[in-house]
């Protein structure tokens, strides 16, 4: 199951979910997620990982530096990664960003939730595509 499509998500996992409709086709919008340089224009100040499954690296955000491991990349559609503050590795969260086709463009849905709240969360990098299928 894809996290962003789960209507019971907030109830089940107490996840943070946000969305924004982009005035582009999905293909045009993809670089905003799939290109680290584009991610640096809105998501974080510095993105030190490649958008490839299993890739990892630091991410600098306003609150400080975090470390991320890419879990899943579906070209043109979705990226998900786990990230955490190195000072607090137990507070690891999963971020999933998905693009959906909608009538007036492309909807970006972001979901973030603590990894511990997933019933069968994989603990190792490259736990990958099955992540969204947990439950």
């Amino acid at each position: 199951m894809e996290l962003h499509n789960d209507p019971t998500l907030a109830e089940e996992y107490l996840a943070v979910r946000r969305e924004l409709v982009l005035p582009f086709t999905r293909e045009e919008a993809w670089p905003l997620l799939g290109d680290p340089a584009e991610l640096e224009t809105w998501f974080a100040d510095e993105v030190g990982f490649e958008v490839e499954e299993g890739a990892s690296g630091p991410v600098r955000v306003a609150e400080g530096e975090r470390f991320a491991v890419v879990e899943e990349v579906v070209e043109g559609r979705r990226i998900s990664f786990r990230w955490w503050d190195p000072a607090e590795p137990d507070a690891e969260t999963l971020v999933e960003m998905t693009l959906d086709d909608v009538a007036d463009g492309t909807r970006l849905v972001v979901v973030e939730l603590p990894v511990q709240s997933l019933p069968a969360a994989p603990a190792s990098p490259g736990g990958g595509p099955q992540l969204a299928a947990t439950r």
């Binding site: 089940e12 943070v16 809105w42 609150e63 000072a87």
Partner: protein, 113 residues
């Protein structure tokens, strides 16, 4: 600063990943305190299952047990829930900022000239 809070929030989320535990928490939030037997009477699960979930909730620091006479009454400890809600509020606010930045950038791009 917020890291400790995030870790506590993670424990809360883990404990609440189970629907029965959520039902127990909801019930305790309504009645204040209850015994395992009274919870089992009100929820569609056995007393044994309730007892198991109460152990998990106690271990996560979400519930405390008070011996009252010959029975044990369980009640919620509010602080961890406040931490979890705090995590959700601050994480949500960060995404609001990021998406506002993205929106601003798209507006710039769409401006003619």
């Amino acid at each position: 600063m917020s890291e400790q809070r995030d870790a506590v929030a993670g424990a809360v989320f883990a404990a609440l990943a189970d629907p029965t535990r959520r039902a127990v928490v909801r019930r305790l939030s309504q009645v204040g305190s209850a015994t395992a037997s009274s919870l089992a009477a009100e929820l569609p699960v056995t007393r044994q299952a309730i007892a198991k979930h109460l152990v998990a909730l106690r271990e996560a620091g979400l519930v405390v047990a008070d011996p009252v006479g010959r029975e044990v009454r369980f009640r919620l400890t509010p602080a961890p829930f406040a931490d979890a809600m705090g995590w959700m509020a601050s994480t949500g606010a960060r995404w609001d900022e990021r998406l506002a930045r993205l929106e601003g950038r798209l507006a710039e791009r769409a401006t003619p000239g």
